[in-house]
Symmetry: C2
Subunit: 373 residues, 2 copies
Amino acid sequence: MSMAVKDLVNVNLGDRSYAIKIGKGVLSHIAETVKSVSADARCVIVTDTNVNVAHGDSLRGILDEQQIQHFTIEVESGEKSKSWSVFQLVVDDILATKLERNDLVIAFGGGVVGDLAGFAASVVRRGMRFIQIPTSLLAQVDSSVGGKTGINSSHGKNLVGAFYQPAEVLIDLDVLKTLSPREFRAGYAEVAKYGLIKYPDFFSWLEQNYGDVFSHGGALATAIRTSCEAKAEIVAADETEAGQRALLNLGHTFGHALEGYTAYDGTRLVHGEGVAIGMVLAHRFSNRLNHCSMDDVSRVEAHLKAVGLPTNISDIPGEQPGVETLMSFIAQDKKVKRGALTFILTKGIGKSYIADDIPPSEVSGFLTEQMTK
Amino acid sequence: MSMAVKDLVNVNLGDRSYAIKIGKGVLSHIAETVKSVSADARCVIVTDTNVNVAHGDSLRGILDEQQIQHFTIEVESGEKSKSWSVFQLVVDDILATKLERNDLVIAFGGGVVGDLAGFAASVVRRGMRFIQIPTSLLAQVDSSVGGKTGINSSHGKNLVGAFYQPAEVLIDLDVLKTLSPREFRAGYAEVAKYGLIKYPDFFSWLEQNYGDVFSHGGALATAIRTSCEAKAEIVAADETEAGQRALLNLGHTFGHALEGYTAYDGTRLVHGEGVAIGMVLAHRFSNRLNHCSMDDVSRVEAHLKAVGLPTNISDIPGEQPGVETLMSFIAQDKKVKRGALTFILTKGIGKSYIADDIPPSEVSGFLTEQMTK
């Protein structure tokens, strides 16, 4: 029996528009979603080991009940699956099922699975339809919405991929219960990010209500819906990141560099943690450039600390990175233009902006200071 | 000194529209094309060994003269470069140049290079701009126009790729002079195809003027421009092959199966030759189904034979394929829907149509007949 969809967010992208359905038990809507794409659509579920163990049978059970033919492709959990070799494997495995262009790929997992499966769907037969069923908080509020898909290259993170929109996103709050506290916290960093980018009232609300969010109370659905609305609004205005969409990278240039230096070793640093540290650094850096008050820097730091997120480079276990190492990762980030660096800076909470003229020397000077913290 | 552009064909695709410039010496326009994309754009030339030897220095010379920074990535000539491993290599090599999203990829070669480089451009940083400079007749009249890019999988030809439009196409008639007669003929099969699809007057004109086309007379430019106009019209009406674009596959389902069975061994069969045989088969098959007169079948066969193209499966050197082998390649072609096969059939010259309900048994019966020819 399917439960009612509690919340619905539309991503308005012309003929590539789609709905995000949010609610407890919303997974059960998968059958009608599949059938709405094509009456006799078959599907291939791309998932990872952890999610398959926790939720794979329940998804397949729903499909079986509705006589929808399905295949499952399982990849290892973790960022390392966003590689050339796993990508080729997934694409070839989808082709091996002989699914056709009107069939469906279901990305069933966290950000890694969504990015990998979405990119695979975009290239199989030059584009199959796909549905995102994000199972981590991070994927639900960020990576499953907006159509960025891709894999990592030895040259850097997410450097190979496609802008490719899903046919629908199903966000089931129930699946979040199996997340580890650390994964949940990491996803929360992206929730807080929306407040910091341009919704100061949402950030204040989070400061008041984060307890209820973390205990899976009613505030959780509100936090997720508000995050999806914020992302949908920004993406609809700028699908391919020609301008304002770059605001979503707040904290990400520093964050990606930190992930790069840990070689995407999730035992040391996961993406959301990198973003948390990166957001604090972006505020501190903005303060150093006299754009953001110290009060706002402290508020950001205090809130992220309160939920248990790391806020300093030194919070990362193991050997600390050198400034030169971080600078080389920053230089190869996608956000570079003619040698000057593009950073998302801020004039205070909810007042972020794009600065595309930051001299590398300013950044390395700032990082040198931070290293001694 | 740059020569005037003789012909200009526009591909109308909204914000993805672009121009095809056709003429002798049009290669010299590359510098202004690069600069029109971005004032200080750099570029990476993706080419193959043969084209690089014949024309690489002249292209680089033009870029040098205009102080445009460039890199060259050379792949081996031939269909085997449309592979996963070469694709990954090209993408990683483009990333290694540290080119940015406003820089350019130049696909400089035949259909293989265009498909490979275009697909690579589509995924590097989720999409770099790219220019097609097709150097074979086949690429000039077909593969460089319309945005289909991709590579082959072990499951079949062109099963992995993207719809990705170039920023411009430069068609230089001079570069065709270095083509072997066999390559030129193979490209001519696609020229004749446009007449057979829906331009019967063009086919009649080709029957009269093919001698001048083959001796690089004035008819060559007309044949190329007319082909590009035909393709542009069809693509503009149906970019992602939801409908009429499929007409361009006339002869291709049989042709791809023949290429598959020769394992893309260009010494036995190149793409255009497969299409020539495939087009004759499509007409014969249509005749068998009582849709096309024997007179029209004979005209098609006679014209393709006159220019020296193969028209029978038995014209392929080496061991002949079994019907079952061909049927398995046909079944894995992209043109399959729920078990029934989609074929481009014809009611006569210039009267092709899409038939999506062909029972496999009809096809295998027909092929069994053909094998004894």
